[in-house]
Amino acid sequence: MQPIRKIASKTVVMPSANIDTDQIIPARFLTITTKDGLGRELFADWRYLSDGLPNPDFILNKPEAAGCRILVAGRNVGCGSSREHAPWALLDYGFRAVVSTEIADIFRSNSLKNGLLPVVVDAATHQWLIEHPGAQIDIDLERMRLTLPTGVSAAFPMEAFARHCLLNGLDELGYLRSRLQDIEHYEAAHSV
């Protein structure tokens, strides 16, 4: 995985609360056996009309969304199914961070493992972002701060180990495997 330090981009804003992973990637696209190419199906049922043409009212089909790397979503984004296809689809489309006041547990964990930054901000910062779609913002993972174009910067939390892995481009499996001796001791001690 590539190290991640900073993301600077305009935002796409989807203010609805509780955007679940079935919306991010509908179940009928989960029959793939790889991770690739899911960007085409990202938000498929919102993004395309029933005849398959782009829905002109959906934010990702508007010209101002082109090239945006940061998705600002309503609270509790990523709730529902544990499908890791959700962060895979967001990344394949081009997003690098999801910003909200609340991010569902499994989606947050899955995002961290793939280099999609889950950024939880305070309500005031979130409100500003919702009211200013397309704002150019900076996300600094090293300092754990999100900076608005007004110059106001807000701290965001990030689990220490996940942050370490993202900053250094490390895979968590490498660390887990480095503890194999501890795992063997545990199994011996617990007769498992």
Partner: protein, 472 residues
Amino acid sequence: MIESMSLRTLFDKVWTAHEVVAETPDTPAVLYVDLHLTHEVTSPQAFTALRAAGLPVRRKDRTLATLDHSTPTVTEQVFGGVPIKVDAAARQVHELEKNAVEFGIELLGMRDARRGIVHVISPELGATQPGMTIVCGDSHTSTHGAFGALAFGIGSTEVGHVFATQCLLQRKPKTFAVNVEGRLPHGVTAKDLILAIIGRIGVSGGTGHVLEYRGSAIAALSMEQRMTVCNMSIEAGARAGMIAPDEATFAYLHERPRSPKGKHWDAAVERWTALRSDPGAAFDLSVDIDASRLEPMITYGTNPGMVLPISASIPRKSDNAAFDKALAYMGFQAGDSMLGKPINVAFIGSCTNGRLEDLQSAARILKGRKVAAGVHLLIVPGSQQVKREAEALGLADIFKAAGADWRESGCSMCIGMNGDLVPGGQYSVSTSNRNFEGRQGAGARTLLASPFTAAASAVTGRITDPRDMLAA
């Protein structure tokens, strides 16, 4: 002070017993996994990662695979040599069959008599046991918490971690006591109870927490009903849901194929009996629910927290775009009464309500009645064992006589990736767990409810209070 700090919750006890390495400010805990369940949808990429790294599945004896999400429920496609209708689903099924052989893991495959929805078969086999840690690449893994296990859903990368190390990196969640006292009234089920709990705490009310369902109303539930409750913990955003094991748990597990036997059974029951929260142990959050005041519940919107007592009307909310969007999707208006709304489909099944007691509930309503003209009632057993039991008890005959469609086991119309779909725009009263937009098919409108309510609504063709059809 010291004394109160040593009091531990059920969750604390199970968590601590599985810490290979405790968490520090810099590193999460290394948590041991006793049982890893896996299925065809979230495992292919994990096997690919193992193959790329040249790693084996470290503990094949703690790994159990089955096929459930993509599998057809049409008998001819499962047993009759007719190809699986959905090509991509067929490929995914074959991929797991190949991976199971290559990595040497046990697969309860397409024609295995023990196959079924992963969260139905593991308890049925006695593989799910109190005090275990159980994970699966599936958010409804919370089901197994009904046995006092710590069970939660993970993503495919973590599936790979467990394959390779039998462990996960985890931060310790917080605890949330859901105290349910009183007796559920006649016709009000475990499904209504969990829908009411989600309605109360909200779809993110449990985020970052492990719920423990406690109190006299929980103790009075059968194991199958407890599984229904724990199953939907994730719909409240919770990491997991747990219920302390008791005599009902032990009676359910006794003599199951994979339960401990003989002196091992006695030792296990002694160990399991200690798995309860110490009196006075502190929880980070708590809520009190009075079971005796509940009614049958039904959802009206596009997440499980948008739920009402069946006799209620849809609330009015001003200046709430998400609420308005949900009602527009459902084709409902604020102020509408739920009772009497026409339906097109009723689905009875899923890891939430696809067990024998659920089918017995449906049969109580359907016996001697007919499904309304123009309504499709699909009844899908949670496992092949549930199917055999339902057939032996004559339930399947009742269903067929009523005009229902009786199928082979699987996730079916809960997730709609196997050919079983609700057509766009149609209303489906479903015993499953998610009423998200498009969950049962693009444009499908899902109303979550109990097996009683789904069966009663299938009979009238309208949303119906099942208590009207249940003899007192």
